[in-house]
Amino acid sequence: MKVTELWRFRWLFLNLLIREIRNRYVGSLSGIFSIIFNPLALLAIYAFVFATILRIKFPALVEYNFTVFLALALWPWLAFQEGTQRGTLSIQSNGNLVKKVAFPHELLVYSAVTATYIVHLGGFLLVLLALVLFGSAINLLALPLVISILGVQFLFTLGLALALAAMQVLIKDTEQYLSPVFMIWFYATPILYPASLVPASMHQVIMLNPMAYFTGRIRDLLLYKNCQFGLVDAAEIAGTVVFFLLARLFFNRLSPHFEDFL
């Protein structure tokens, strides 16, 4: 389906999005837990283990607080991970709809991922505000650029979720492999440690990971106040767009067959 045709379904998308947000986050205790307590608890335990118990002092981070350093990358990562996981299951869990009603299936994936991003963006902004109030030197002027980077990361998440959602319909245990993969991915991404600590020989490999770019760039903007954009940024953005388009092609190739497998 062409993007212009998709525009006709904007109202449906909005409805699905609202439904998604309400289902998951409004009015249920676990929803509130997942928005606020889950990330805060993660942040607290990492800060406790790394800064208090292990007493790790990164040489690159002498003038920065480890908790602040971690918080800036943790929320974008959680949005990415949760968005991908929700998106992966979105087609299967709406199987009854897919089997009975004709509409562009990709909207289900988009609404699942978008809902996660909206909620975590809200959490992220609150955390930034809290950090500033407690006196951390965060470059809030770069916020529009940060949101643009998050937008590119959002596009990357959409692409990954599209591909995985289609896989999930055809291969039911796709989702089970996601948790270990995300675990490895999390540690392979410079979130708990600065990218500068990665040995030079492995630096290139680590930077092939788009998530390393996104989280790194967000820290750059907010913490190191580096607002210079260059060739790497252009390449990452272009790469993400191409990835998304290919993933969407993959999804839409398979989507007419979903009904047969659900």
Binding site: R8, F9, W11, K100, V101
Partner: protein, 414 residues
Amino acid sequence: MDQEIFSADNLQSPLVCLKNVGKDFPVASTGLGHLQTIWSLLTGRGDYARFRALRGVDLEIYTGQSLGLIGENGAGKTTLLKIVAGVIKPSIGKVEINCRVGALLELGAGFHPEYTGRENIYLTAALMGMTKSDIADNISSIIDFADIGEHIDKQIKHYSSGMFIRLGFAIITALRPDILITDEVLAVGDESFQKKCIKWMESYLSDGGTLMLCSHSMYHINKVCHKALWLHRGQPRLYGDSSDVTREYLAHFEEKNSKAEEYKSHNVTHEKNADEKYAIQELWLEDQDRNHVSNVTNGKDVYVCGIAYSPDQRIPVVAVGVLRSDGTPIYGISTEVDRFQPNELGTNSFGFTLHFKRFPLLPGKYLIRAHAMDPEGMRLFDPMECTLVVLGQTREIGLCYIKHAWLPGKRAHS
């Protein structure tokens, strides 16, 4: 955008046009076979293990020409409906849809239990392609039609199944599609709501609406559809005027049944229907001396007697048909047509006797079939049958005596 295509020449161009459409379903595979299936779906080579659900369907549906799909379970009726509805894509062939399709494959398919009725209306209507302003214009009429009072603002999970269905149907009434696709006749809910559904359906059809439905009720197919398509094991077997197709279908079915089982004898009493439907409870034949019989002599009087059950004390409509033993109808008549009212025999039961004077059928084996219907004559319930053997000696040929006389001949054009 649909309106532009669907413009002045809509009388000529079909709403729906299918050319050589077929559908395969992949057969469940495991492990590596699965990856192979995905690969062939992606490349479109189609060399995966599959099951043929539908083959070679050519179809054109024009405005106002409702189509009924008939066939046994698993013949591919629902698959074909889903293809026209756009829910599944055919494996081969071409599908052309030139109108706004409203598909009701299941009432309330998009409903979410945690939402109120009103919120579900918005979501479902959006799924059916209505815009925000469409919905805003129609929401009050939808709520009126559903008529479930204050429950409209309560969560759907607290609804009774009847309220659920009412809401699902009400949304369709607002959609007013050019062609409505449905899996069964839309008479749902309690008695008064069923009447509302039927009334809406009649006005929809008389306003030029087109229907595509599959049903196992030949009576309904005949009543609402102009054309019928008989699918047999995934292939079209017969297409034409609904009366012709349903007749052929029934004949085929009767033949098949008659081989499988003996017909019920005339004095079997139907157990009282647990689900409170109109039904014929007893059916028997009497000869001219009003004795119970199963054989009659041709040319003598025959009485078809029966007792009909009415769950709500309203006088039911009774239809009696005479069929050849292969199921070909010979004659059918109902109390509604003759304006006769069965008499009350006791609580919920009504009696009738149909008197055939000088029974004109030639010797042979026949079936008498009786149906009870609700007073509106819309819903047809399970029939009861008994066999009738006509005895006699005659050299006439055919089914039925036709009153005649031989006269002296004369020259043509003299």
